[in-house]
């Protein structure tokens, strides 16, 4: 349980903070989605980084290799990536519609317009 053996997690944590910050703090709808993607990517490292073993190789069974990195997180994250891009595509489609309906993609302007509805 030493600090140094967990350094890989710190990258995850930094990315999670930065991504979440962009989502919550920024008013631009496109930038929020970019932040959301970064937040999701931080999870990829959380899952995959601990799966590696020293002296290991990619989990493709072949003669001469005994140690493989853990394949299960890879599978899970493949799914997570796909879910992420699906969400992004849908989010962008919504943004395009919002732009057409309100003429803006800034949250503050849109909320101001909604008050007038």
């Amino acid at each position: 349980m030493t600090f140094a053996s967990h350094y890989g997690y710190w990258v995850t944590i930094f990315l999670a903070i930065a991504g979440l910050y962009i989502v919550v703090a920024r008013g631009n709808l496109v930038k929020k989605l970019v932040g959301l993607s970064i937040f999701q990517t931080s999870v990829y490292l959380l899952y995959i980084a601990p799966g590696k073993l020293i002296g290991g190789t990619a989990p493709i069974v072949a003669d001469g290799f005994q140690v493989y990195s853990n394949p299960l997180p890879h599978v899970l994250i493949l799914t997570a990536i796909v879910v992420g891009i699906a969400t992004l595509a849908l989010g962008l489609a919504l943004v395009v519609r919002i732009k057409e309906a309100y003429g803006s993609i800034e949250e503050d302007e849109i909320l101001a317009a909604e008050r007038g509805d």
Binding site: L36, V83, E114
Partner: protein, 493 residues
């Protein structure tokens, strides 16, 4: 032979219907399919409920891979109770939908609407029956993505913004959930919920487990709109198409409640969550806040649909209050309110859909005196409102009666008092509707309106009738809730 495949058929039948609808490209055919799969879901979940009602569980191994290597569907009475609830609501909404879809969705989008509806149904049922943490996430995303689209199909442009906000908050919630699951996976090495529970006992370092508990709680609370994480809900409910509001209000948040309970009791263990940790107290504070603050906000709404949406946030507070009391009676109260509130709110939003169809407006200012021209619709809303308040002989009374009992059992009469006091707030907002609908003179525009069509009234009144019936004969609902509560409290076998 077929009876052994019920768990998977429950989910896959609507899932297969969705691409078929896209290939057929016909609104009418899609509607027929939607009705067929909704009633099939009701029948299958009913059969499953009968299978497991006596206790025990049904396991189904996908791809015939044994758990924990493959994905397991594991149905006990808790899952079956939830699946049955979703099935009932889906069956009613599917019958109700064509008139409101005809009015609210453009012709070229109708089959896409039903495709999304089928996917959403499949996703919710998938969450309800799966026994695998990551599979739960995948189906959560199927139901979430489809509900974003369903909400955005509302006629008002604010529906788009509501869907966007829900997308952002929903995705943050789902990502929190995945982080929590990731920590549990790293700590135990498994994704199967039952296996996870068994292996958690052997984890010596509690920090990862605690953090996982926190992440999953926050993530799921975002989805179930626990105050103060409810910000997406009022607009999403207010501006979504009528059928969608009724369907989501009655099912989506309830399924999230199930997820929370499943993790608390079947994975982390009820005693860890509520005795070793102050989760009960934390939930209690947020539940009470939801009951009072959301009800108060509801009173000041100008839009009827939005008012009832805030009322939903408050009612979710009653459910989580039951959970927070962490006793057999409390949990039973919470679970029975899951069912009762689904019936009540489902009925209310269906009836409001009738007003939306005829009057085209949901503001108090433009529906004055509507009770005289749409008597059946408005009388139904009044009865539903009485159930929200908790008047005897409605389902709302049953839930609150048990909540009060649970509070007294716990030795906290002030909580019992809070339950009763918050009902007065419900009385105020329901009275507002009554006052506007019955005691104002209808203007020329309102006088020209007609009663809602029978295809909408009959399903809605079926739910209202259920609200009254189950308010008097509580054997089925309370029996199911008590069996589910008992299954949860006794923990994994």
């Amino acid at each position: 032979m077929i009876s052994s495949h019920l768990p998977i058929l429950l989910v896959v039948v609507p899932l297969i219907a969705a691409p078929v609808m896209v290939i057929l490209r016909s609104g009418a055919a899609a509607w027929v399919l939607a009705i067929a799969v909704s009633w099939a879901a009701l029948a299958i979940s009913g059969a499953l409920f009968v299978q497991v009602a006596g206790g025990g569980h049904v396991s189904y191994f996908l791809g015939s891979w044994p758990a924990p290597w493959g994905i397991e569907y594991r149905v006990d009475v808790v899952n079956a109770y939830l699946a049955l609830l979703v099935g009932v609501v889906a069956a009613v909404v599917s019958v109700y939908s064509p008139r409101s879809v005809l009015a609210e969705i453009e012709p070229g989008r109708r089959y896409l609407f039903y495709t999304m509806y089928a996917l959403c149904l499949s996703g919710l049922l998938g969450i309800a029956v799966t026994g695998d943490a990551f599979n739960l996430f995948v189906f959560l995303e199927i139901s979430s993505l489809s509900s974003y689209v369903l909400i955005a199909l509302g006629r008002d442009r604010r529906a788009l913004m509501a869907a966007y906000q829900y997308l952002i908050l929903g995705t943050i919630g789902a990502t929190f959930y995945v982080i929590g699951v990731g920590m549990l996976y790293l700590a135990t090495g498994t994704l199967n919920l039952a296996d996870m529970a068994a292996r958690l006992a052997g984890v010596s370092e509690p920090r990862a487990v605690l953090a996982a508990l926190a992440f999953i709680t926050v993530g799921v609370s975002l989805k179930l709109a626990l105050f103060p994480l409810h910000l997406w809900l009022p607009n999403a409910y207010a501006y979504a198409p009528s059928a969608v509001t009724a369907f989501l209000a009655a099912t989506a948040t309830k399924v999230s409640v199930y997820v929370l309970l499943r993790y608390y009791y079947s994975v982390f263990g009820g005693s860890t969550v509520f005795h070793a940790l102050p989760m009960g107290e934390i939930l209690l504070v947020f539940s009470l806040a939801a009951m009072f603050i959301a009800s108060t906000i509801a009173i000041f709404q100008e839009n009827v649909k939005r008012m009832f949406a805030y009322s939903s946030v408050a009612q979710i507070g009653y459910i989580t209050l039951g959970v927070a009391l962490a006793s057999m009676t409390g949990l039973t109260a919470g679970l029975v309110h899951v069912f009762n509130h689904a019936l009540t709110k489902g009925a209310l939003f269906l009836l409001l859909g009738g007003i939306a169809l005829r009057a085209g407006a949901m503001r108090f200012g433009s529906i004055g005196g509507i009770g005289r021209v749409m008597p059946l619709t408005c009388f139904g809303i009044v009865l539903g409102g009485l159930s929200l308040i908790g008047v005897p002989a409605t389902v709302g009374f049953v839930s609150k009666w048990y909540l009060v009992q649970a509070a007294l059992e716990r030795g906290s009469p002030w909580i019992a008092f809070a339950v009763v006091a918050s009902s007065l707030l419900a009385l105020v907002y329901v009275w507002r509707f009554i006052e506007v609908a019955y005691f104002r003179e209808p203007d020329a525009r309102v006088s020209a309106l007609r009663e809602a069509p029978a295809s909408m009234l009959v399903p809605a009144w079926a739910l209202i009738a259920a609200c009254i019936y189950f308010g008097i004969d509580t054997d089925l609902t309370l029996g199911g809730a008590a069996a589910a509560a008992w299954e949860l409290i006794r923990g994994p076998q």
